[in-house]
Symmetry: C2
Subunit: 429 residues, 2 copies
């Protein structure tokens, strides 16, 4: 028979227990923050009908990066590349019975067919946090504050990152009202600005000139602004600019001091309608976007129901893992096993299981060693597995109602009455 490969499918990861502990730490940290804000968990199948992504996910992803196929019943289906279309679908489905506003979160896995590289794989998990059913600017501020609080919960120093913000409405106003561009040119200009940092200055200049003609200086002045006050005078009365200022001021008053305006921040997805933001790593060796989000007020009405204003963000597990490694913030995560019971004679298995049962009922994690190895070897194995306590247990201990406990850190052994064992471990939990 042909030898089977032991490798995970390209661009995906196997999570061995040590990897899983890190992943669980990352998820638990995310959850602890969002749940304190009253966000409730939801999820859905990774498999969705492909139509869901055709409307708003963005061409590159749908045409080149989806995992799509025809099921055995002829349905065109896709492994979700992102969660936002799903949350919009779910909200639309129960539009009439849900109590708004909704504070929802999920940590789904997503698939994109990309060239695997450091910090980017074909399968990733992504925390999605969404506040649906309110167009309040405080909601925008809350979402950004949660992003900030999660960074804080991971131990991130706010000096190591900035939160860049912009407003799609401000950009649209500038493109259409000031530069007088039509719909199509506005769209092309927004895409050009989105990739500004990836193209040469010459290419950007040429392409933008072809779109805005002799207004290129005004465009340059706009894009050069590093604060709202530096924007061209002509747009300084805009209510969309005021919105952005209000959100930034609210965040500032809540202790978020690293939030900055960036007029070149567009965000790739086509569904954003208002405030957009991105958390940027300032590390010169790793200067890049960590994650981001924004307001998307028109996504739910694609399903033919009354609009539901919404704001949210997505935070990938791989990006956060890389960030934690870069800043040495990854905690040491050890096995949760407290005790291993090593029998001197298997005749006492019933008593060993009884002992384990009592300990487990008292919150102690216990493993029983069934091997035929010698006691010395059993203790060595316990050490390799980093189990802090070994219980040495044989017919004599059983006869005397005693147990012998070896504390691995000190190597010291102690024999105590069996009915005191729960108390013994209570001291260490």
């Amino acid at each position: 028979m042909k030898k089977l490969s032991t490798e995970a499918y390209k661009g995906t990861r196997d999570f061995y227990p040590e990897d899983m502990r890190l992943q669980n730490y990352i998820f638990a940290t995310m959850k602890s923050v969002v749940e304190k804000y009253g966000y409730e968990e939801y999820t859905a199948s990774i498999l969705e009908e492909s139509d869901l992504y055709r409307a708003k996910t963005g061409e590159e992803i749908v045409n080149e990066q989806t995992y799509s196929f025809i099921d055995r019943g002829g349905r065109d289906v896709t492994l979700r590349p992102e969660m936002t279309p799903t949350v919009a679908r779910m909200v639309a489905n129960k539009r009439k019975t849900l109590f708004f506003p909704l504070r929802w979160y999920s940590i789904p896995n997503c698939f994109r067919y990309e060239r695997p590289q450091r910090g980017r794989l074909r399968e990733f998990w992504q925390l999605n946090v969404d506040l649906l059913g309110t167009d309040s600017l405080f909601a925008d501020a809350e979402i950004i504050k949660i992003a900030y609080d999660i960074m804080d919960a991971f131990g991130a120093d706010p000096k190591t990152f900035v939160i860049k913000v912009n407003n799609r409405k401000l950009m649209n106003e500038f493109f259409k009202e000031i530069l007088k561009l039509d719909e199509e040119k506005s769209y092309r200009l927004s895409k050009l600005i989105d990739k500004k940092s990836k193209v040469s200055e010459k290419e950007f200049t040429e392409e933008s000139e072809s779109l805005v003609g002799n207004q290129r200086e005004l465009l340059d002045a706009f894009l050069k602004a590093t604060t709202l006050d530096e924007l061209p005078e002509i747009i300084s009365d805009s209510k969309n600019l005021k919105e952005l200022r209000d959100v930034m001021n609210t965040l500032n008053s809540q202790g978020v001091k690293n939030c900055i305006f960036d007029p070149t921040l567009m965000r790739g997805f086509d569904y954003y309608t208002g405030i957009v933001f991105e958390v940027f790593d300032l590390n010169p060796l790793n200067n890049r976007s960590l994650f981001g989000g924004g307001r998307y007020d028109n996504l739910v009405d694609l399903f033919g129901v009354e609009p539901v204003p919404a704001v949210g963000f997505g935070m990938g597990d791989l990006t956060m893992q890389t960030y934690l490694e870069t800043y040495n913030l990854t905690p040491k995560l050890e096995t949760k096993i407290d005790v291993i019971i090593c029998m001197l004679d298997k005749q006492i298995i019933t008593q060993a299981v009884e002992l384990a049962t009592v300990l487990r009922k008292n919150g102690v994690t216990v493993v029983i060693d069934y091997t035929d190895k010698k006691m010395g070897q059993k203790i060595k194995n316990a050490d390799k597995k980093q189990i802090p306590f070994v219980v040495i247990y044989g017919p004599e201990e059983v006869a005397r109602n005693e147990v012998t406990i070896k504390m691995m850190k000190t190597g010291k052994q102690k024999t105590i009455p069996q009915n005191q064992i729960t108390n013994y471990f209570k001291g260490y939990n």
Copy 2:
């Protein structure tokens, strides 16, 4: 634009927060048991190369029920229909560096293309618990005991279910040594017995006769046994029978009184090699297999490494959910939100956020209401969301360093100094 469907893909579920709470309760209950036994969580991608399932998963699933497709790079891939091949692959991959025995668990989602019906969908989650690297019968007993303990943790009365056990080795011995069947006929007979309860007696008699000829009476006598002692005399000295007896005795001594021998229990998967078991619901309206598992000692060597003996089981979320509903064991799971802060004037947003921050730091889950609704409406909404406390907060409260708390259950309001609010909620947590 065409109106998009709001339905989940056929045979999959949307988990709204209330569904998710139940799913999380089921997962947490499973985890609490297995983790106390020292099992460590692992996982892998849902996408695997299709070859992984061709060897041992069983023809019906691979030919008719997999979600398989060709990726953009020409690889033949499958959404996992079960987790066991993946755990075998992962163990084979690190065969030389892992410390055996391994106690591993995972709760992956799996896909099978089947006709959706009550308790069976196209996507399901399944707890997988495996003890790898030991052929000890105590390992078999531990795995079955864990299955029993999980039922117990769900509140199941042991009178409502039985654990049926059998030994594949005993069956093989009977087929080959006693009935003298060749490999192919043994396999066909095992498949026939596996579907015994689904075919008519006549069909079973005819087909079994075509396989065993004039030994049909011996076969019938074997299959009729309801205890090990009732098996035909000719096999009573079998060491495989003794194995099964030892496992059953071990379980009995550990308090598992509902474990019974069933010679017709085969389990569908081809990879089982020893003890197999199934937990059966005894409810006359729902008399069926809930879940099961067994020993599979030859799966890891498919990958060309030294064999790793293994035993484990898989427990589906849908089956357990149906079971809990049948016996009225589903707990009432409410929102985790403790408090909603309702502002009398949005000017105090900064102070409201500060108040929320203090409470969150002290473990209280707090939501802020940003709506422009009147206070009465805000309180009604809090009631609909079943939030137990409303904090009424306005400029006067801010000026006096006070907060007004309304306890929804009693309807009573109380005004207290702001610095006492944490203590106030400590009493309710």
